[in-house]
């Protein structure tokens, strides 16, 4: 799929600007209806007399001003408790309640119809009375005029006949700009009575990437740097994006892109974006780098020396494909991806009893082992029932016990949608409404369990999950249940006795669902590139655009066409030149961090790092206790000696190393729980801590074996580099290391240990690159 940028001329922008200034929301000056097309949204000024006898609408006019002036934000009267006794719905999602608060509560304390100027609604924000929120507008402003006229007209509340906003559109939708350019985003509101109104003055603007373009409250854009970014526009609970493309200032011949190697659609779309942005792609990484990178990213360990030697020595053109095949078919693949999905599903020994941890992990592992298609995997979780000790997938419902939690976590994990905001009010940044939330949550209202209740430290953990044929979740605002419906899908009849979760699973995993395939595609993508095409991976809302939307769309489509076989997606990623690029920046791409002109180095996952140290030193780590909050431990016998960190079932297994290096604690459904932040404690732990040093000193470890085998220092250094870094040392590296080792005299073992230590503590070892 090729993404077409529309180039909107500056001239056109100027023309649009001229007409934008006199508009009020809901006003009769209409923008050309019908097309909504970028080419012709010319606002037409209606004759003057049409504006007489204007009756202001609370829903469409007053609310827009309150939103624009920030009255109903979370920091002001939009907070749940209100401010100074005056409470508005967050960003005006509830017009009825807002009307009551303004015009009805306490006999209409905040307005005075008989003397509109005396209304608190006007006196406070203009400074006539002290207002903590400061002065929001002047008495000669348009907003003052509209509010005062609305009061003078009798403060009419929201009417059932009010035109309803159906969507907003922005001009420009896409624009190509240069650094230091300025631009302006215009906003049109489309109402269900067919009117299109310029509401730029009342819209809220925010930039998705301030380093590329910033925007002020009037929608005026200033380009600050190169890249792709968007301005998010909010008006009346609707959002839209105006995308900006700003090429980098590099002179790169088109030929660079034309002649670049392409393996598949990923390379096509990546190069197209690099070309638009004028970024030079880095050359391919060498074989040593690639096998280490691909092995770590795909199966979570270092390549063995044999694997590296064979791969580097091979001369066939098919060797990369053979490597990928081997990785995807390996047992470690199962360990690694089981661990990843256990992160996603929060398998956690401080929340589940051991029997459930074991069965949950086993279920995930079997699913990965048989390469269960992702849609089936998710369907099995969503529709799980039975006993927790035999039906591992049911533990999703032991971890999330209320319909609201089930809804929020299923949306988060499988669609990358954080809809929790809509539990209390319409989502301020998305289209999800409070009612949609409760309709969705009602799909889970009949999920019941018996047996173990959730006490993490006690009980047998056996819990039977079943689905009742009656029971509804009450929408607390109305005291009534809402028809169960997947977010924006049709509702199911209340009396339909079938498991409502089946309808949810069918909707969610449907290829036409815009969130499902994209979410898992993005998660897989993030595993291989260190960042998702959408960052964060748990935040796929519209207002958080992808760094390369065509690439995400095409990759998701590829996954759908592969029947949700994740290995097929991994294969195209691994095979692509884009993935195989060197991580060494070029002058013409070093300033970018998201368009994949090169590979971005990143620290190994905590678990992979620990396993890698053991792999190099030929030691093992013991995992014997589950750590509950508050220095409270329970012994576990689930992990025999030699268990790798990546094979652990759950995140609560005590390990200072894993904790320090930021493993995912699996408390909430968010990849953000995993930390790759470097810290001084990590540095100290690597150099002096109780992980590395005992391993280096252990009897019978790799060092003992190398000494016992009678290997010379030179051979040992060669081996060390190969096993830890998948490459031979350079001559100068080797000379330096050997020279230092020489200084140890008869302390040879110490010399070797320190050589190991130096390599293991190096950035080259601890990073994938």
């Amino acid at each position: 799929m090729i993404h077409q940028y529309r180039f909107v001329s500056i001239l056109y922008l100027l023309a649009a600007l001229v007409v934008s200034f006199s508009g009020f929301p809901g006003r009769a000056e209409e923008v050309n209806t019908g097309t909504g097309n970028v080419e012709s949204p010319v606002a037409e000024q209606k004759p003057e007399e049409a504006q007489d006898f204007q009756t202001w609408s609370f829903r469409n006019d007053v609310e827009s001003i309150l939103a624009r002036q920030g009255c109903n934000t979370g920091a002001c009267h939009g907070t749940l408790a209100g401010k100074g006794g005056f409470r508005l719905s967050l960003r005006g999602y509830d017009s009825e309640a807002d009307f009551n608060a303004i015009a009805r509560d306490l006999r209409g304390r905040r307005i005075e119809i008989a003397d509109p100027g005396k209304s608190l609604l006007l006196a406070k924000p203009t400074g006539a009375l002290p207002h903590k929120g400061g002065i929001r507008f002047d008495i000669d402003s348009q907003d003052y005029k509209i509010l005062s006229e609305w009061i003078a007209q009798g403060a009419i509340g929201p009417q059932p006949t009010d035109p309803r906003l159906t969507r907003i559109t922005v001009v420009p939708e896409n624009v190509l700009l240069k650094p230091a350019d300025t631009s302006k985003v215009l906003v049109n509101a489309h109402y269900n009575d067919g009117r299109v109104v310029d509401v730029t003055h009342w819209a809220k603007f925010s930039a998705t990437d301030e380093s590329v373009a910033s925007v002020n409250e009037k929608g005026e854009v200033l380009v600050r740097g190169a890249g792709e970014a968007a301005v998010l526009v909010w008006f009346g609970s609707q959002v839209a994006l105006s995308r900006m493309t700003v090429p980098y200032p590099y002179e790169i011949q088109d030929e660079v892109y034309a002649t670049a190697t392409r393996r598949n659609f990923i390379d096509d779309l990546n190069l197209q974006q690099l070309k638009t942005l004028r970024l030079r792609p880095s050359p391919a990484a060498n074989d040593e780098t690639f096998i280490r990178r691909a092995t770590i990213d795909t199966i979570g360990r270092l390549p063995s020396t044999e694997e590296t030697n064979i791969y580097v020595a091979a001369q066939t053109s098919e060797k990369k494909k053979a490597l990928i095949d081997r990785l995807l078919a390996s047992d470690e693949y199962v360990d690694y991806w089981t661990y990843k999905w256990s992160d996603l599903l929060l398998v956690n020994g401080t929340k589940l009893r051991p029997v459930a941890v074991e069965s949950d992990h086993k279920w995930i592992r079997n699913s990965v082992s048989e390469n269960k298609p992702w849609n089936q995997f998710v369907t099995e979780i969503l529709t799980a029932k039975g006993d927790s000790d035999s039906q591992g997938a049911t533990n999703f419902y032991a971890l999330h016990q209320s319909p609201e939690e089930m809804t929020e976590n299923a949306s988060q994990a499988f669609m990358g949608l954080s809809i929790g905001c809509a539990k209390c009010h319409n989502h301020p940044l998305e289209k999800w409404t409070n009612d949609q939330y409760y309709s969705m949550a009602n799909l889970f209202s009949r999920v019941r369990a018996k047996g173990w209740g959730g006490e993490p430290r006690n009980g047998d953990g056996v819990r039977t999950l079943y689905v009742a044929t009656d029971g509804e979740l009450i929408q607390p605002k109305s005291g009534k249940a809402l028809p169960p419906a997947p977010l924006d899908s049709d509702p199911i009849a209340f009396d339909d006795p079938r498991d409502r979760r089946e309808a949810l699973a069918a909707w969610m995993t449907n290829p036409s669902n815009p969130y499902f395939a994209r979410s898992i595609t993005n998660r897989v993508w993030a595993n291989f590139f260190g960042r998702g095409l959408v960052e964060m991976t748990d935040d796929l809302r519209l207002s958080n655009p992808a760094s390369n939307e065509p690439l995400l769309a095409a990759s998701a489509k590829h996954l759908v066409e592969s029947q949700f076989d994740l290995k097929q997606l991994m294969r195209v990623i691994l095979e692509s030149e884009t993935y195989g690029r060197s991580s060494t920046p070029l002058p013409e791409n070093e300033s970018e961090h998201k368009y994949l002109s090169r590979y971005y180095p990143r620290r190994l996952l905590a678990e992979v790092l620990l396993d890698s140290i053991d792999q190099v030193v030929q030691t093992s780590t013991d995992f014997t206790r589950i750590a509950f909050p508050g220095a409270d431990f329970q012994d576990t016998k689930l992990y025999p000696k030699g268990t790798h960190a990546i094979q652990l079932y759950d995140s609560a297994v005590e390990s200072y190393f894993l904790k320090t290096f930021g493993r995912n604690t699996r408390e909430i459904t968010c990849e953000c729980e995993r930390s790759s932040e470097p810290s001084m404690i990590q540095v100290l732990h690597m150099s002096n801590g109780e992980t590395m040093n005992p391993k280096l000193a252990a009897d019978g470890n790799a060092i003992s074996k190398l000494i016992d085998a009678g290997m010379a220092n030179e051979e040992i250094v060669d081996h060390l580099f190969l096993v830890a870094l998948s490459r031979k040392p350079t001559t100068s590296e080797k000379d330096k290391v050997l020279a230092v080792m020489q200084e140890y005299g008869d302390q040879r073992r110490t010399a070797i240990e320190d050589a190991f230590w130096s390599v293991l503590a190096s950035t080259e070892f601890t990073f994938n690159h």
Binding site: S148, G154, R448, G451, A468
Partner: protein, 931 residues
Amino acid sequence: MNRNPRLILELSLLMFVGGKLAIASDALDYVKDVFPVLQKHCIACHTADEAQGGLVMETYASIMRGGESGPALTPGVPTSSRLYMMASGKMDPIMPPDDAERPTEEELTIISTWIEQGAVGPEGEVAMRRELQTPQIKTSSNAKTPITSIAISPDGSQYATASYGDLDLVAMESKQLIRRFESQPGKINSLQFSRDGSKLLVASGVTGLVGIATIYDVISGSKISVIEGHRDVIQNAIFSPDEKTIATASYDREILLWDIETGKTIQKFIGHNGAIFSIAFSPDGRTLVSGCADETVKVWDVASGQRFDTMSQPTDEVLSVAVTNDGSYAISGSADNRLRVWSLLSKDTPRINPIVATRFIDESPLTHLALTRDGSRLVVISDAGNVKVLRTSDWNQIAALKPLGETPSDVAVSTDGTLLLVSLMNGQVVERQLPKIETNSTETKTQTADVKPIYLDVGPLNMIDEAVARKERGLTDSTTSDHPLKLARGSEVSGAISTLGEEDWFAFDASQGEMWIVETQTDGLDSKLDSILEIRDDKAQSIIQVQLQATRDSYFTFRGKNSIQTDDFRLFAWDEMKLNEYLYASGEVTKLWRYPRGSDSGFDTFPGRGNRWSYFGTTGTVHALGEPAYVVRPLEAGESPAANGLPVFDIYYKNDDDPSQNRKRDSYIAFKAPESGRYLVRLSDTRGEGGEKYKYRLKVRPANPGIQASVTEIKNPLRRGSGRELPVIVDRIDGYNGEVWFELDGLPPGIHSNFPVRVQPGQSFAIGNIWADSDAADWGDAVSPRVIARATINGRIVERIAGTAGKLTITDRPEAIVQIFTDATEEKGAGSLRVQIKRGETISLVVKADRKEGFTREIPLGNEQAGRNMPHGVFVDNIGLNGLLVRENESQRQFFVTADASAEVGVRDFFLTGAIDGSVTSEPIQLEVLP
């Protein structure tokens, strides 16, 4: 900009230009020139309530006092005045802070000039302004201005209404305007006639500036007195019962008491944390009750100004309060849509006022309350415009009047209690007739619903093999609702749910009122089945067994519950729940058995021991933290649910796990045939599983109510001068819910007991006691007295051997002998001791410990279950975290016993058990519960 010619926007130039003109020549006036600038930019964050940096800028004097950083200004020298330097951005922190609008150059010049001129201001702390200078905007001719308040004169001939600036006296009959009072502009929030109708008290003010209360002479229309003092409008002003004082409650969070004669403040009631919307005096005038935006009702002592109690049950703003005419109850209506009633006890001293009723009245906030003069009825008005009438005898609704169709602003009830007037925000006044309480309006139960239960005996059950029978009748793979397997009346079927998701269907005939049991049994079958059963009608439709109306909503707090535990049901708003109320959550109905010990504990549910019981055939399920739970009431047959904004739950004849939870995964339904006809039974696996190993026995049999009884034998030897517990337990069968008596035969000489022991209706256990005289002789070989249970069930006496009391032997006295006394001075307690307790009352008793020489350690007597064998609903109260105990080296301890309003009237033995010598008991005493 396009001006609408019909609306004229007159800008007040004074505020902005006045300063400029003045700078040139004259000295600046603080009030006229300077204050508006400070008001616009500074005062919002520098009020007495919330003085940022310790600086209050509301008055000249307070500015001159300065703040935490010292003086705000130095007269004569703007450049060494923090106020000016910060406001002009020449000194950090820049004021106003953050991104607030900056003062203009002109405004800054005003400030600097004023300081330069010596920063002169008015003397004293005079109220700054009563006028708000704002643009004059003409109201549209067809705009409806609200009527904000209404009052009916005591003789009922007139009523007063208020709208902005207009205060009108209107004749009741003719609706003709009698008089328009001269009134200052401002919102009038309340009106009240004096008792003789000669005066009218008006609460008003200027929003955001000042509160004003005015008393008018009704005849002449002149002002008798005007009271000013609050910093925002007065929401409610009321005469004290003696009409010598008035109390005013304001949006400014204060309540003031004024002497009408002098116009002086004589009392302040400080402590509310939000706007105060409503106040009410007790009839004797000694107590004031207030309702506030801070979600509380407070009770004040008028004489001292002291706060006697805060009632914090409301979960949203309290909009209206009242005190009943006899002074017994305080009432509130709040934005959480609930009416609450408290027994008003804190009249003389600080005391907790217990909540006696909570009623969900409407689906919108309850904005106004009005009691009839005779005290019999309470009118409740809601924000949505609904009018409900309650009777005060039980706080139940007697009528819902025609809805108002507009937001109400006030309500007034005529003295004779026949009529009410409601003022509306659309400028209208509507009238409603107030219904009387019908004398015999007690709930009329529908006769048809009471179908008498019929108990059958159909002889031995027909034994059927499902697979064989199915083949014989030509039903191939499995049965369906269309092709069920027909069962004879009284059958036992052997079968299996042999494939995934399979349903087995059966049919049987029953006549109206017949009591049937449909149950599965898997014991001995090595079955993996987790059965679920449902009884449906002939058309395969589910049958409603009962409808449950939610009367209170709540949710689980602190942690979730597993599906069998009885204890620790922690619920939001638990203090508004009562024993024996049904609790619905996730399809399960339980019943509250024992109160929490405090906010850090939970309810116990029935039966108070062992596994949790569920009711109406529902199944025990787990309950998640935060899961919604509702107190529910079963509706009578034919009774329609009240529109109280809470859900109604339909309970069907359906069961997953036996409601007594004694049979693991087997199912049990007690079915009363609503009509004569054919009924279907559906049997499947709860989880949708199936296979060869999913075997079952299904019984469709007549109900045979009965009991099984057991006793927990005494293991330790009796000790002279003390007793041992002998708990007795009843398993109730097929719905027998009545009392059960346990008897004990053959005690040795010198040994007494509290038998016969009674298990109360609906309960599952009682605690017997066998007690040895201090000089009881040893009887040699152990004796084992028999325990027998008796109950009268359907006219027959049913007798069951429960077991024995154990092998009884006797030995020396225990380390300590504990005994119960009515007070500390008593020498001899127990034995014949009988104490009385009224329902709803708490009494105190004393436990004494006669310690053996050298025995000093503490004697624990148990926690919430400390009172042994107490009647249901009577409990040892006010125990601390450590429970009831006689402390180390001490010999006595006072304790409290409370009887819940639900406690059964009658006499019962109770005792205490000390955790010494393998648990020894006191001698039982008699406790008589009085109505």
